[in-house]
Protein backbone atom coordinates (compact mmCIF):
# COMPACT_ATOMS: atom_id res chain seq x y z
CA UNK A 1 0.00 0.00 0.00
CA UNK A 2 1.26 3.44 -0.88
CA UNK A 3 2.30 5.90 1.80
CA UNK A 4 0.63 8.73 -0.07
CA UNK A 5 -1.96 8.32 -2.78
CA UNK A 6 -4.19 10.78 -4.57
CA UNK A 7 -6.92 9.40 -6.77
CA UNK A 8 -8.82 11.66 -9.16
CA UNK A 9 -8.74 14.59 -6.73
CA UNK A 10 -10.77 17.66 -7.67
CA UNK A 11 -10.87 21.03 -5.95
CA UNK A 12 -12.41 24.37 -6.87
CA UNK A 13 -12.06 27.81 -5.35
CA UNK A 14 -15.35 29.43 -6.25
CA UNK A 15 -15.78 29.11 -9.99
CA UNK A 16 -12.14 28.24 -10.62
CA UNK A 17 -11.32 24.55 -10.73
CA UNK A 18 -7.75 24.29 -9.50
CA UNK A 19 -7.45 20.50 -9.40
CA UNK A 20 -9.22 18.64 -12.18
CA UNK A 21 -8.62 15.01 -11.26
CA UNK A 22 -5.12 14.65 -9.85
CA UNK A 23 -3.78 11.12 -9.46
CA UNK A 24 -0.38 10.02 -8.23
CA UNK A 25 1.11 7.86 -5.50
CA UNK A 26 4.28 7.62 -3.47
CA UNK A 27 5.71 4.57 -1.68
CA UNK A 28 7.29 4.59 1.75
CA UNK A 29 10.75 6.16 1.69
CA UNK A 30 10.24 7.80 -1.69
CA UNK A 31 10.91 11.43 -2.46
CA UNK A 32 8.34 12.99 -4.72
CA UNK A 33 8.82 16.32 -6.42
CA UNK A 34 5.86 18.36 -7.64
CA UNK A 35 6.79 20.74 -10.42
CA UNK A 36 4.83 22.99 -12.72
CA UNK A 37 4.14 26.61 -13.52
CA UNK A 38 2.60 28.93 -10.96
CA UNK A 39 -1.13 28.31 -10.84
CA UNK A 40 -0.83 24.73 -12.03
CA UNK A 41 -2.26 23.50 -8.72
CA UNK A 42 0.82 21.94 -7.16
CA UNK A 43 0.70 23.89 -3.88
CA UNK A 44 -3.04 23.28 -3.60
CA UNK A 45 -2.47 19.57 -4.13
CA UNK A 46 0.11 19.58 -1.34
CA UNK A 47 -2.19 21.48 1.01
CA UNK A 48 -4.98 18.99 0.31
CA UNK A 49 -2.71 16.16 1.45
CA UNK A 50 -2.53 17.76 4.92
CA UNK A 51 -6.25 18.70 4.80
CA UNK A 52 -5.46 22.42 4.91
CA UNK A 53 -7.92 22.44 2.02
CA UNK A 54 -10.86 20.07 1.76
CA UNK A 55 -11.31 18.42 -1.59
CA UNK A 56 -14.48 18.32 -3.68
CA UNK A 57 -14.04 14.86 -5.15
CA UNK A 58 -11.71 11.87 -5.33
CA UNK A 59 -9.71 10.14 -2.60
CA UNK A 60 -6.54 10.93 -0.69
CA UNK A 61 -4.84 8.47 1.60
CA UNK A 62 -1.79 9.37 3.67
CA UNK A 63 -0.03 7.03 6.12
CA UNK A 64 -3.22 5.02 6.48
CA UNK A 65 -5.49 8.04 7.02
CA UNK A 66 -8.41 8.61 4.68
CA UNK A 67 -7.90 12.36 4.26
CA UNK A 68 -11.14 12.84 2.29
CA UNK A 69 -13.20 11.30 5.11
CA UNK A 70 -15.16 14.17 6.68
CA UNK A 71 -14.99 12.37 10.04
CA UNK A 72 -11.19 12.15 9.93
CA UNK A 73 -9.45 13.02 13.22
CA UNK A 74 -7.35 15.91 11.94
CA UNK A 75 -4.99 15.85 14.88
CA UNK A 76 -4.13 12.19 14.24
CA UNK A 77 -3.37 13.04 10.61
CA UNK A 78 -1.16 15.96 11.65
CA UNK A 79 0.79 13.74 14.05
CA UNK A 80 1.89 11.68 11.06
CA UNK A 81 2.37 14.50 8.57
CA UNK A 82 4.85 17.36 8.95
CA UNK A 83 4.63 20.40 6.70
CA UNK A 84 7.03 23.27 6.09
CA UNK A 85 5.92 26.48 4.41
CA UNK A 86 7.57 29.07 2.21
CA UNK A 87 7.20 31.71 4.93
CA UNK A 88 8.66 29.53 7.76
CA UNK A 89 5.84 30.48 10.16
CA UNK A 90 7.89 30.09 13.31
CA UNK A 91 6.14 31.47 16.38
CA UNK A 92 7.80 34.88 16.95
CA UNK A 93 7.09 35.03 20.69
CA UNK A 94 8.96 31.79 21.41
CA UNK A 95 12.65 30.91 21.16
CA UNK A 96 13.72 28.36 18.59
CA UNK A 97 13.90 25.74 21.34
CA UNK A 98 10.43 26.62 22.62
CA UNK A 99 9.06 26.55 19.07
CA UNK A 100 10.26 22.98 18.77
CA UNK A 101 9.22 21.88 22.26
CA UNK A 102 5.70 23.32 22.11
CA UNK A 103 4.01 20.54 20.15
CA UNK A 104 5.79 17.57 21.79
CA UNK A 105 4.98 19.00 25.25
CA UNK A 106 1.38 19.99 24.65
CA UNK A 107 0.30 17.33 22.15
CA UNK A 108 2.35 14.28 23.08
CA UNK A 109 2.70 15.27 26.77
CA UNK A 110 6.44 14.74 26.64
CA UNK A 111 8.26 15.94 29.80
CA UNK A 112 10.24 19.19 29.75
CA UNK A 113 13.64 17.52 30.05
CA UNK A 114 12.89 14.99 27.33
CA UNK A 115 11.50 17.74 25.09
CA UNK A 116 14.73 19.71 25.52
CA UNK A 117 16.62 16.65 24.28
CA UNK A 118 14.23 16.28 21.36
CA UNK A 119 14.79 19.91 20.44
CA UNK A 120 18.57 19.64 20.75
CA UNK A 121 18.51 16.52 18.62
CA UNK A 122 16.29 18.08 15.94
CA UNK A 123 18.42 21.23 15.85
CA UNK A 124 21.53 19.09 15.47
CA UNK A 125 20.04 17.46 12.41
CA UNK A 126 19.55 20.85 10.75
CA UNK A 127 22.88 22.26 11.95
CA UNK A 128 21.48 24.84 14.37
CA UNK A 129 22.52 23.34 17.69
CA UNK A 130 23.74 26.73 18.95
CA UNK A 131 20.48 28.57 18.18
CA UNK A 132 18.21 26.90 20.72
CA UNK A 133 17.77 30.07 22.78
CA UNK A 134 17.59 32.54 19.88
CA UNK A 135 14.34 34.17 18.82
CA UNK A 136 13.24 33.66 15.20
CA UNK A 137 13.80 37.35 14.40
CA UNK A 138 17.48 36.93 15.26
CA UNK A 139 17.98 34.27 12.58
CA UNK A 140 18.55 34.53 8.84
CA UNK A 141 15.84 33.26 6.50
CA UNK A 142 17.76 30.06 5.87
CA UNK A 143 18.22 29.46 9.57
CA UNK A 144 14.54 30.14 10.23
CA UNK A 145 13.56 27.66 7.57
CA UNK A 146 15.87 25.03 9.01
CA UNK A 147 14.42 25.69 12.46
CA UNK A 148 10.94 25.20 10.99
CA UNK A 149 12.08 21.87 9.55
CA UNK A 150 13.48 20.90 12.96
CA UNK A 151 10.15 21.82 14.56
CA UNK A 152 8.34 19.40 12.24
CA UNK A 153 10.95 16.67 12.67
CA UNK A 154 10.65 16.77 16.47
CA UNK A 155 7.12 15.40 16.08
CA UNK A 156 8.59 12.36 14.30
CA UNK A 157 6.21 12.43 11.34
CA UNK A 158 5.93 9.58 8.85
CA UNK A 159 5.60 11.99 5.95
CA UNK A 160 7.09 15.43 5.33
CA UNK A 161 5.64 18.00 2.96
CA UNK A 162 7.64 20.98 1.72
CA UNK A 163 5.78 23.84 0.08
CA UNK A 164 8.25 25.94 -1.93
CA UNK A 165 10.45 26.16 1.12
CA UNK A 166 13.34 27.90 -0.62
CA UNK A 167 11.41 30.36 -2.77
CA UNK A 168 12.04 33.25 -0.37
CA UNK A 169 15.77 32.57 0.01
CA UNK A 170 18.89 33.66 -1.85
CA UNK A 171 21.04 30.94 -3.51
CA UNK A 172 23.40 30.56 -0.55
CA UNK A 173 20.59 30.15 1.98
CA UNK A 174 18.71 27.92 -0.46
CA UNK A 175 21.76 25.67 -0.54
CA UNK A 176 21.89 25.27 3.23
CA UNK A 177 18.18 24.40 3.41
CA UNK A 178 18.37 21.95 0.52
CA UNK A 179 21.32 20.15 2.11
CA UNK A 180 19.16 19.55 5.19
CA UNK A 181 16.33 18.21 3.05
CA UNK A 182 18.71 16.02 1.09
CA UNK A 183 20.03 14.47 4.30
CA UNK A 184 16.46 13.81 5.33
CA UNK A 185 15.74 12.16 1.98
CA UNK A 186 18.78 9.91 2.32
CA UNK A 187 17.62 8.89 5.80
CA UNK A 188 14.51 7.36 4.22
CA UNK A 189 11.84 9.95 5.05
CA UNK A 190 8.84 9.83 2.74
CA UNK A 191 8.38 13.33 1.41
CA UNK A 192 6.80 15.50 -1.23
CA UNK A 193 8.32 18.79 -2.27
CA UNK A 194 6.80 21.52 -4.30
CA UNK A 195 9.84 23.21 -5.77
CA UNK A 196 11.33 25.17 -8.62
CA UNK A 197 14.84 23.83 -7.95
CA UNK A 198 15.21 21.49 -10.94
CA UNK A 199 18.79 20.50 -10.18
CA UNK A 200 17.79 19.50 -6.69
CA UNK A 201 14.87 17.51 -8.09
CA UNK A 202 17.25 15.65 -10.41
CA UNK A 203 19.51 14.82 -7.48
CA UNK A 204 17.11 13.57 -4.81
CA UNK A 205 13.77 12.71 -6.38
CA UNK A 206 12.51 9.17 -6.93
CA UNK A 207 9.44 10.46 -8.57
CA UNK A 208 8.72 13.61 -10.53
CA UNK A 209 5.15 14.79 -10.98
CA UNK A 210 4.64 17.55 -13.53
CA UNK A 211 1.38 19.44 -13.08
CA UNK A 212 -0.19 21.51 -15.79
CA UNK A 213 -3.55 23.30 -15.62
CA UNK A 214 -4.82 21.33 -12.65
CA UNK A 215 -3.84 17.90 -13.93
CA UNK A 216 -0.86 15.59 -13.66
CA UNK A 217 0.44 16.04 -17.17
CA UNK A 218 3.44 13.77 -16.97
CA UNK A 219 5.04 11.70 -14.23
CA UNK A 220 7.88 9.27 -13.83
CA UNK A 221 11.44 9.03 -12.59
CA UNK A 222 13.97 11.84 -12.89
CA UNK A 223 14.52 10.71 -16.48
CA UNK A 224 11.45 12.72 -17.52
CA UNK A 225 13.43 15.83 -16.62
CA UNK A 226 16.06 15.01 -19.23
CA UNK A 227 13.73 13.33 -21.74
CA UNK A 228 10.30 14.93 -21.34
CA UNK A 229 7.62 13.30 -23.45
CA UNK A 230 5.02 16.03 -23.56
CA UNK A 231 5.62 19.37 -25.25
CA UNK A 232 4.29 21.16 -22.13
CA UNK A 233 7.00 19.67 -19.90
CA UNK A 234 9.59 20.35 -22.58
CA UNK A 235 8.46 23.93 -22.67
CA UNK A 236 8.42 24.22 -18.87
CA UNK A 237 11.96 22.84 -18.59
CA UNK A 238 13.31 24.96 -21.42
CA UNK A 239 12.88 28.03 -19.19
CA UNK A 240 15.13 26.50 -16.54
CA UNK A 241 18.66 27.77 -17.00
Amino acid sequence: MSMISLNNVTKSFGAVQVLKGVTFALEKGEVGVLIGASGSGKSTALRCIDRLETIDGGQIEVAGHRVDDPKLDLRKLRLDVGIVFQSYNLFPHLTVGENIMLAPCSVKKVGKAQARELAADALNRVGLADKVDSYPEQLSGGQQQRAAIARSLAMEPKVMLFDEVTSALDPKLTGEVLRVIEKLAVSGMTMIMVTHEMNFARKVANKVVFMHQGLVHEQGGTNILSKPETPELQDFLSHDL
Binding site: Y88, H93, S106, V107, Q144, S152
Partner: protein, 223 residues
Protein backbone atom coordinates in the same frame (compact mmCIF):
# COMPACT_ATOMS: atom_id res chain seq x y z
CA UNK B 1 -22.50 83.14 53.29
CA UNK B 2 -19.75 81.63 51.20
CA UNK B 3 -17.40 79.52 53.25
CA UNK B 4 -13.81 79.14 52.14
CA UNK B 5 -12.30 76.04 50.68
CA UNK B 6 -10.73 74.16 53.55
CA UNK B 7 -8.80 70.97 54.21
CA UNK B 8 -11.98 68.95 54.76
CA UNK B 9 -13.11 69.80 51.27
CA UNK B 10 -9.80 68.59 49.87
CA UNK B 11 -10.03 65.38 51.89
CA UNK B 12 -13.52 64.88 50.52
CA UNK B 13 -12.17 65.30 46.98
CA UNK B 14 -9.44 62.76 47.71
CA UNK B 15 -12.05 60.32 48.95
CA UNK B 16 -13.95 60.91 45.71
CA UNK B 17 -10.72 60.25 43.82
CA UNK B 18 -10.35 56.95 45.66
CA UNK B 19 -13.83 55.90 44.54
CA UNK B 20 -13.03 56.95 40.98
CA UNK B 21 -10.03 54.61 41.10
CA UNK B 22 -12.14 51.82 42.60
CA UNK B 23 -14.82 52.24 39.96
CA UNK B 24 -12.17 52.29 37.21
CA UNK B 25 -10.72 49.06 38.59
CA UNK B 26 -14.14 47.41 38.74
CA UNK B 27 -14.91 48.53 35.19
CA UNK B 28 -11.53 47.41 33.89
CA UNK B 29 -11.60 44.00 35.54
CA UNK B 30 -15.28 43.31 34.80
CA UNK B 31 -14.95 44.76 31.31
CA UNK B 32 -11.73 42.80 30.77
CA UNK B 33 -13.40 39.49 31.55
CA UNK B 34 -16.47 40.42 29.49
CA UNK B 35 -14.31 41.82 26.70
CA UNK B 36 -12.28 38.63 26.44
CA UNK B 37 -15.49 36.62 26.15
CA UNK B 38 -16.80 39.02 23.49
CA UNK B 39 -13.54 38.95 21.54
CA UNK B 40 -13.46 35.15 21.51
CA UNK B 41 -17.15 34.94 20.59
CA UNK B 42 -16.64 37.44 17.75
CA UNK B 43 -14.16 35.10 16.04
CA UNK B 44 -15.80 31.81 17.09
CA UNK B 45 -16.59 29.27 14.37
CA UNK B 46 -20.24 29.02 15.52
CA UNK B 47 -22.47 31.46 13.61
CA UNK B 48 -24.80 32.12 16.54
CA UNK B 49 -21.92 33.19 18.81
CA UNK B 50 -20.62 35.65 16.23
CA UNK B 51 -24.16 36.93 15.68
CA UNK B 52 -25.01 37.47 19.35
CA UNK B 53 -21.67 39.02 20.26
CA UNK B 54 -21.85 41.24 17.17
CA UNK B 55 -25.32 42.43 18.12
CA UNK B 56 -24.17 43.11 21.67
CA UNK B 57 -21.29 45.26 20.47
CA UNK B 58 -23.51 47.19 18.04
CA UNK B 59 -26.15 47.74 20.69
CA UNK B 60 -23.77 49.00 23.39
CA UNK B 61 -21.68 51.11 21.03
CA UNK B 62 -24.91 52.69 19.84
CA UNK B 63 -26.08 53.60 23.33
CA UNK B 64 -24.71 56.49 25.43
CA UNK B 65 -23.06 55.36 28.66
CA UNK B 66 -25.26 57.87 30.47
CA UNK B 67 -28.37 56.00 29.33
CA UNK B 68 -26.85 52.66 30.33
CA UNK B 69 -26.21 54.14 33.79
CA UNK B 70 -29.83 55.28 34.09
CA UNK B 71 -31.07 51.88 32.94
CA UNK B 72 -28.91 50.19 35.53
CA UNK B 73 -29.87 52.42 38.42
CA UNK B 74 -33.53 53.21 37.72
CA UNK B 75 -34.40 50.38 35.35
CA UNK B 76 -33.32 47.44 37.50
CA UNK B 77 -35.38 48.50 40.57
CA UNK B 78 -38.39 48.77 38.25
CA UNK B 79 -37.81 45.09 37.47
CA UNK B 80 -37.64 44.28 41.16
CA UNK B 81 -33.86 44.35 41.72
CA UNK B 82 -32.59 46.86 44.23
CA UNK B 83 -29.11 48.09 43.47
CA UNK B 84 -26.69 50.40 45.25
CA UNK B 85 -25.13 53.22 43.22
CA UNK B 86 -21.79 51.36 43.25
CA UNK B 87 -23.35 48.17 41.86
CA UNK B 88 -25.34 50.07 39.27
CA UNK B 89 -22.33 52.12 38.14
CA UNK B 90 -19.97 49.13 38.22
CA UNK B 91 -22.36 46.95 36.25
CA UNK B 92 -23.09 49.67 33.68
CA UNK B 93 -19.41 50.38 33.13
CA UNK B 94 -18.67 46.66 32.87
CA UNK B 95 -21.32 46.27 30.19
CA UNK B 96 -20.00 49.32 28.36
CA UNK B 97 -16.28 48.49 28.62
CA UNK B 98 -16.86 44.84 27.59
CA UNK B 99 -18.16 45.96 24.21
CA UNK B 100 -15.22 48.28 23.49
CA UNK B 101 -12.44 46.06 24.82
CA UNK B 102 -14.06 43.13 23.01
CA UNK B 103 -13.78 44.98 19.72
CA UNK B 104 -10.21 46.14 20.36
CA UNK B 105 -9.12 42.63 21.28
CA UNK B 106 -10.96 40.99 18.41
CA UNK B 107 -8.98 43.21 16.07
CA UNK B 108 -5.73 42.18 17.76
CA UNK B 109 -6.55 38.47 17.58
CA UNK B 110 -7.37 38.84 13.91
CA UNK B 111 -4.17 40.78 13.30
CA UNK B 112 -2.09 37.69 14.08
CA UNK B 113 -1.32 36.26 10.62
CA UNK B 114 -3.48 33.33 9.43
CA UNK B 115 -0.27 31.44 8.75
CA UNK B 116 0.38 31.26 12.49
CA UNK B 117 -2.95 29.47 13.02
CA UNK B 118 -2.10 27.14 10.17
CA UNK B 119 1.38 26.34 11.46
CA UNK B 120 -0.04 25.58 14.90
CA UNK B 121 -2.77 23.42 13.38
CA UNK B 122 -0.22 21.45 11.37
CA UNK B 123 1.68 20.64 14.56
CA UNK B 124 -1.47 18.87 15.81
CA UNK B 125 -2.18 21.47 18.51
CA UNK B 126 -5.82 21.48 19.63
CA UNK B 127 -8.01 24.55 19.09
CA UNK B 128 -7.55 25.69 22.68
CA UNK B 129 -3.81 25.15 22.56
CA UNK B 130 -3.59 27.12 19.31
CA UNK B 131 -5.49 30.00 20.86
CA UNK B 132 -3.76 30.13 24.23
CA UNK B 133 -0.20 29.11 23.33
CA UNK B 134 0.26 30.59 19.87
CA UNK B 135 -2.27 33.27 19.00
CA UNK B 136 -3.04 34.97 22.30
CA UNK B 137 0.55 35.63 23.39
CA UNK B 138 1.08 37.44 20.09
CA UNK B 139 -2.26 39.26 20.27
CA UNK B 140 -1.55 40.45 23.81
CA UNK B 141 1.55 42.28 22.60
CA UNK B 142 -0.51 44.00 19.94
CA UNK B 143 -3.34 44.72 22.37
CA UNK B 144 -1.38 46.29 25.20
CA UNK B 145 -0.98 49.87 23.87
CA UNK B 146 -4.63 50.35 22.77
CA UNK B 147 -5.87 48.72 25.98
CA UNK B 148 -3.86 51.04 28.19
CA UNK B 149 -5.03 53.91 26.00
CA UNK B 150 -8.64 52.88 26.47
CA UNK B 151 -8.18 52.72 30.24
CA UNK B 152 -7.82 56.53 30.10
CA UNK B 153 -11.31 56.63 28.61
CA UNK B 154 -12.57 54.45 31.45
CA UNK B 155 -11.15 56.79 34.09
CA UNK B 156 -12.91 59.75 32.50
CA UNK B 157 -16.14 57.88 31.87
CA UNK B 158 -16.49 56.96 35.55
CA UNK B 159 -17.49 60.61 36.08
CA UNK B 160 -20.86 59.70 34.56
CA UNK B 161 -21.54 57.57 37.63
CA UNK B 162 -22.32 60.83 39.42
CA UNK B 163 -25.75 60.85 37.75
CA UNK B 164 -26.81 57.81 39.75
CA UNK B 165 -25.68 59.40 42.98
CA UNK B 166 -22.35 57.63 43.23
CA UNK B 167 -19.91 59.96 44.97
CA UNK B 168 -16.76 59.75 42.93
CA UNK B 169 -14.44 62.62 42.04
CA UNK B 170 -16.81 64.59 39.78
CA UNK B 171 -19.76 64.20 42.15
CA UNK B 172 -17.57 65.14 45.14
CA UNK B 173 -16.61 68.35 43.34
CA UNK B 174 -20.26 69.05 42.60
CA UNK B 175 -21.24 68.57 46.26
CA UNK B 176 -18.50 70.88 47.53
CA UNK B 177 -19.47 73.48 44.97
CA UNK B 178 -23.07 73.32 46.18
CA UNK B 179 -21.90 74.36 49.64
CA UNK B 180 -19.20 76.96 48.91
CA UNK B 181 -20.16 78.02 45.37
CA UNK B 182 -16.69 78.42 43.88
CA UNK B 183 -17.27 76.54 40.61
CA UNK B 184 -14.16 77.68 38.79
CA UNK B 185 -11.81 76.86 41.64
CA UNK B 186 -13.44 73.52 42.43
CA UNK B 187 -13.60 72.25 38.86
CA UNK B 188 -10.03 73.30 38.16
CA UNK B 189 -8.95 71.18 41.12
CA UNK B 190 -11.15 68.30 39.90
CA UNK B 191 -9.71 68.61 36.39
CA UNK B 192 -6.14 68.59 37.71
CA UNK B 193 -6.82 65.42 39.70
CA UNK B 194 -8.32 63.71 36.63
CA UNK B 195 -5.30 64.79 34.64
CA UNK B 196 -2.95 63.34 37.26
CA UNK B 197 -4.78 60.02 36.98
CA UNK B 198 -4.84 59.95 33.18
CA UNK B 199 -1.51 61.47 32.21
CA UNK B 200 0.69 58.61 33.47
CA UNK B 201 -1.55 56.14 31.64
CA UNK B 202 -1.28 58.12 28.40
CA UNK B 203 2.49 58.32 28.63
CA UNK B 204 2.69 54.61 29.42
CA UNK B 205 0.48 53.85 26.42
CA UNK B 206 2.58 55.96 24.06
CA UNK B 207 5.77 54.37 25.29
CA UNK B 208 4.32 50.89 24.81
CA UNK B 209 3.23 51.81 21.32
CA UNK B 210 6.79 52.78 20.39
CA UNK B 211 8.20 49.53 21.77
CA UNK B 212 5.51 47.52 20.02
CA UNK B 213 6.10 49.30 16.72
CA UNK B 214 9.69 48.19 16.86
CA UNK B 215 8.60 44.67 17.76
CA UNK B 216 6.02 44.70 14.97
CA UNK B 217 8.57 45.77 12.38
CA UNK B 218 10.80 42.91 13.36
CA UNK B 219 8.11 40.25 13.22
CA UNK B 220 6.77 41.53 9.92
CA UNK B 221 10.30 41.17 8.62
CA UNK B 222 10.50 37.64 9.91
CA UNK B 223 7.16 36.54 8.49
Amino acid sequence: MNTLLNINHLLFLLEGTWWTVVLTAVAFIGGGVGGLAIALARIAPADWMRLISGLYVQLIQGTPLLVIMFLGYFGLPALGYNVTPLTAAGASLTIYVSAYLGEIWRGCLEAVPKAQWEAAECLALSKTQRMFKVIMPQAIRLATPPTVGFSVQIVKNTSLASVVGFVELARAGQLINNSIFEPFLIYVIVAVIYFCLCFPLSVFSQRLEKTMARYGARTADAA
